[in-house]
Amino acid sequence: MKSQPHVLVVDDEPLVLNTLQNLLEFDYTVHTAEDGFTGLKILQKEPVAVILSDQRMPEMLGHEFLRQAKLIRPNAIRILLTGYSDLEAVMNSVNAGEIFRYLNKPWKSDLLLSVVKLGVQVHDELSGIIRQAAWDQRLKGDHSTHIEVEEKTPNVLFVGYENSEVAHLVKQLEDRFAVSAATSIDEAFREIARKPISVIVSEVKFEEFDGVEFLSAVRQDYPHIVTVILTEVVDAQLAIRSINELQVFKYLTKPLAKGEFKKVLTDAALRNQQYASAPAANLQLTAQKFVPSTAEDQSDTALRLRLRAAQAMVAKKSSPAP
């Protein structure tokens, strides 16, 4: 018999574990743990492809467990089950555990099954690419796993901030990044079409659209751009969407601790290079391979039309005069 993918489920409620075991066991080898510590021990032994974890557990919270799980099995796809979307937990986990998806309790069985299936596919793709890369390196006799930082200064685009605020940030960042700013979505689209952007730092509120819609539209054409949300708006629903629809790199809330922002941008720029050299590391892009984007709502179409217009305008300008 063909070996089944391994799934680890962590929840402090045994009845939930039993239910998920029943739900998943036809297609997967299911491991269960009632707390994070046991979960980590299982991860050390078993080739787990997908981890499903509850958030609220005594001793170790879900996002903390997933953060440590990432260190043990970086390729395992992490899914968080949240019973009640409490703000603190969501904000913590967006930035700490690099979650693939949030699922709400009570969950729908078919949705959960499809997310786990997608998780396994993304995991396999990710592992395959990394094995391939290791193989290539061995052939080349190159043993360094270090990713070379390109000499070029990464372009960072700020969207939706006051000029004074951007000026303040530029001062902190100009030694390492080329910073530009756009106040509107159309202006941002033109900037993106004009030059290769590594990282977009965006507000969440624009006149007609929110930041997740805007960044998702950019993503379609520029999947390697790493997105960071920087805002005063603390909104769990928005944070969940920014993970589930956008796989946002960080969701930062103002005020920022000193030095924090520079570090985030450095990590984001590095991530952008990873995406360019190994596209499978881009979870959102890899997931899209298996589930073609079904985003056909009006805001998406409208935004994409405006992006096309910006691209066309830039192309016309840059083409040499006849």
Partner: protein, 342 residues
């Protein structure tokens, strides 16, 4: 004469000013009283919000697995009925003496029963159903607790079990407690006091929530999971001849002496804006005062805090209170006519 008339005039002016001042003071007083009422109401809504948040979490877990169990049972039912119908069609053709498809039919029945056996679907489905009942019981219990906590369908002043009130407050606060502290109960047996149970439960919930908040941050949020720093809340009830004493102790951060003097003042809070209105304890104080009881606090910074509530077992009433009470009961019975009983 001029002096006298000037004096009278100035006296009259003073009197007029005094009168105006009195009127405007009274107006001000009414305004303040009204805004105070609004604030108390908003504090009630805030704790109601917390309560709902906790309950939603507690209910979503059983709701989650019960729902999923039913979906899985449906799936399993499909597999079982499929196997039975395959078997039936085989036995029908056999009875007719038709052996031509026997091999393929047998194969098909075997395949299906193999899956049923491999995953032990018959036993497991039964377990899923009985666990679903456990989940439904849990939801029912939560609703019962909410009902006990709010006591909307009862007259306001009557004998109530103090331990039961504490337990219902604990269930509601459970969501917040779970990640932060273990709770130890040291209850005196059968502690019944004549009280406004709904109001008293509100006080208990407030004190328990404060205790949980004093034990911050929740383990895991800082990455620390040191067992020695595990939060602990001890709830003690003591029966005395005339009094019921309730102690709620935590091993949290404690309250600084300069804050301790002020904690029962309205609007005094050390929490960040949006986290607390600073009215919780002042309302608790008022409720206990109305019961003819006392509320005291002892705290050591870094060691923890103990709140002690004492209420008389029998409610002592002034004629004024009696009148107000009968009015409240009247209102209550009116509302219970319009609201269906739970």
């Amino acid at each position: 004469f001029i002096q006298i008339s000037a004096l009278t005039l100035s006296l009259m002016v003073f009197a007029a000013m005094g009168l105006r001042l009195a009127v405007s003071l009274r107006k001000q007083d009414a305004v303040i009283r009204e805004s105070q009422q609004q604030l108390i109401q908003s504090e009630k809504m805030a704790s109601l919000g917390q309560m709902v948040a906790g309950l939603v979490h507690e209910m979503n877990t059983p709701l989650g697995f019960v729902r999923s169990n039913i979906e899985i049972t449906e799936r399993n039912h499909g597999i079982l009925s499929d196997a039975i119908s395959e078997y039936e069609s085989m036995s029908t053709t056999l009875e007719q003496g038709d052996l031509s498809h026997l091999e393929s039919q047998l194969q098909s029945v075997k395949e299906r029963s193999e899956k049923i056996r491999k995953f032990n679907l018959i036993d497991k489905t039964r377990t899923l159903l009985s666990q679903s009942l456990v989940g439904l019981d849990r939801i029912q219990e939560l609703i019962l607790n909410l009902k006990n906590f709010s006591r909307l369908d009862e007259a306001s002043l009557k004998p109530a079990d103090i331990n039961e009130g504490l337990d219902s407050a604990l269930v509601i606060a459970q969501n917040m407690l779970k990640a932060r502290a273990t709770v130890e109960k040291r209850y005196a047996a059968h502690l019944v006091a004549e009280c406004h149970a709904a109001q008293l439960n509100q006080v208990f919930l407030n004190l328990i929530m404060n205790a949980a908040q004093a034990i911050t941050p929740a383990p895991g949020e800082t990455g620390g999971t040191d067992a020695e720093r595990q939060g602990r809340i001890v709830i003690t009830t003591i029966a005395e001849p005339q009094w019921a004493t309730i102690k709620i102790s935590d091993n949290g951060s404690g309250i600084r002496p300069e804050h301790l003097r002020r904690i029962f003042e309205p609007f005094f809070t050390t929490k960040r804006v949006g986290e607390g209105t600073g009215l919780g304890l002042s309302i608790a104080y008022k409720i206990i005062e109305q019961h003819g009881g006392t509320i005291d606090v002892k705290s050591d910074v870094g060691m923890g805090t103990t709140f002690t509530v004492r209420i008389p077992l029998r409610h002592l009433q002034t004629p004024q209170q009696n009148a107000r009470l009968s009015k409240m009961i009247q209102n209550n019975s009116q509302t219970s006519i319009t609201t269906p009983s739970l």
